[in-house]
């Protein structure tokens, strides 16, 4: 058969499309459960990591917080989860763990759901809040764990889809994330988050709502600043209620 005849080209492309479509979609369908399990475990690992660190201490022994360990122990530590609306009221029937921030961010503020995880570890309680925003090239996201005072940061985790290696991608490094520890998110009565500041002179001052930026990654740093403020300030009503109820119990 002539390789350049139209009918040959047509048959060839039909066969190619069918073969490729069958192979790819069957592969995607077959691997989907394992992939989503990986994603779920990673989410649990990230949430735990914000207040546990790299290794989990159980009965005096320390175990590395791998994805498998994280998914096994997640329910031992994360005791409560809330799906809040922008006024801080819990939405019934919404599974906070399944909320995808990428989709929530597209909605108007009044319709968004704000997930919050309440956890207890070594006798202290922590509140973990997921974050999501835009970096230079693509989305950046993360989790921040607050201590019981709902002001001091216990730990943060950041991740990104495609920031420049060596510049924006440095937000995933330990030194950058550690600089957030013990920073405060409140300034006076309002939530301002933590600013990633260029040419920061404050050293290790934990009271100024600012950390040192990564040199050369201004836009990613601004993205982190914006993401922290924009996400956290919507929890203010909930925080106030929480604080009030604590005072009442005392």
């Amino acid at each position: 058969m002539d390789r350049n005849s139209n009918s040959y080209i047509f048959i060839f492309s039909v066969i190619m499309v069918i073969v490729v479509a069958v192979v790819l979609s069957s592969l995607a369908t077959a691997l989907k459960p394992m992939q989503s399990e990986n994603v779920r475990q990673e989410k649990m690992q990230n949430i735990l990591k914000t207040f546990v660190g790299d290794s989990l201490k159980i009965d005096g022994k320390s175990i590395e917080l791998t994805r498998a360990v994280a998914s096994e122990k997640y329910n031992d530590y994360v005791l409560n989860q809330y799906a809040l609306d922008y006024k801080g009221a819990n939405k019934d029937g919404v599974d906070a763990f399944q909320v995808k921030l990428a989709e929530e961010l597209k909605k108007p503020l009044e319709e968004q759901t704000f997930p919050l995880y309440e956890a207890t570890y070594e006798g202290k309680s922590y509140y973990v809040i997921p974050l999501r925003g835009a970096g230079l090239w693509n989305a950046i996201w993360g989790y921040v764990a607050l201590e019981e005072d709902l002001n001091t940061i216990k730990g943060v985790i950041f991740d990104h889809a495609g920031e420049t290696a060596g510049l924006g991608a440095e937000i995933t490094t330990d030194w950058f994330q550690e600089s957030f520890v013990n920073e405060k998110i409140y300034q006076g009565q309002s939530i301002v988050g933590v600013e990633v500041k260029k040419g920061y002179q404050g050293g290790n001052d934990k009271g100024d709502n600012a950390v040192n930026a990564i040199s050369g990654a201004t836009i990613t740093g601004d993205g982190v600043t914006a993401m922290m403020e924009e996400r956290l300030k919507n929890y203010k009503d909930f925080f106030e209620q929480k604080k009030q109820s604590k005072v009442a119990i005392r």
Binding site: R3, N4, L27, R67, G166, L167, G203, G216
Partner: protein, 247 residues
Amino acid sequence: MSQEIKDTNEAKKKKDELILFLTKTEERESLLSKANRKLLSDPLDDNNPITVQVLGICSALAITVQLKPAIVMSVAVVFVMAMGNVVISLLRNLVPNRIRIIVQLVVVASLVIVVDQVLKAYLYDVSKQLSIFIGLIITNCIIMGRLEAFALGNGPWKSFLDGIGNAAGYGLILIIVAFFRELLGSGKLFGFEVLGHKGLTLEESTGLYALGYENNGFFLLSPMALIVVGVVIWYQRSRNRKLIEEN
């Protein structure tokens, strides 16, 4: 009983001989031939994909800020190129000329997606490292260029060697550029601070930084990658003068 064992032994021996024979002819005909070795070694210098053929520049600029992603990318490209070249070479007598570009791209893209999906399911950590390169691999013109220029006209084994050779030549330049950019730009190699630690003040610094050395942040920006590649070309052509262009 003993006869049986003898028989099976003999059969096994014959089989071994056959395998030996097959591998030997294979070696004599292809692995050791000079032309085939040239396929592997040429792209490292005389016919380097980046500095001579001008292919695959985009990715060379995007991922050479640090050594580690450069190496991950090189390994991924070796794999995809070798596989892609073999598949296209096997299909070369079937592909209609008029839609060959689509076929080539579909083959490359499918390969990359298959690899990506499998990694996501079984080696999640590796896939996270690779995920940002997927688009860069599909549109890496080295892969298309070699499919078009070589695999469409040559047998699978030769195409395989050509793929490995070109990917290696590409990786070599990537690693050289990444080495200089990471060393001069952030004073690190593979993330380790090889030039000493830079503290907030001179007193807190160690190594070169204690002498007042500063990182050249310019090397972290993409335009610097272009200039580093330019200098690599300069060096290569002043050693290998037959590559010098007229103007």
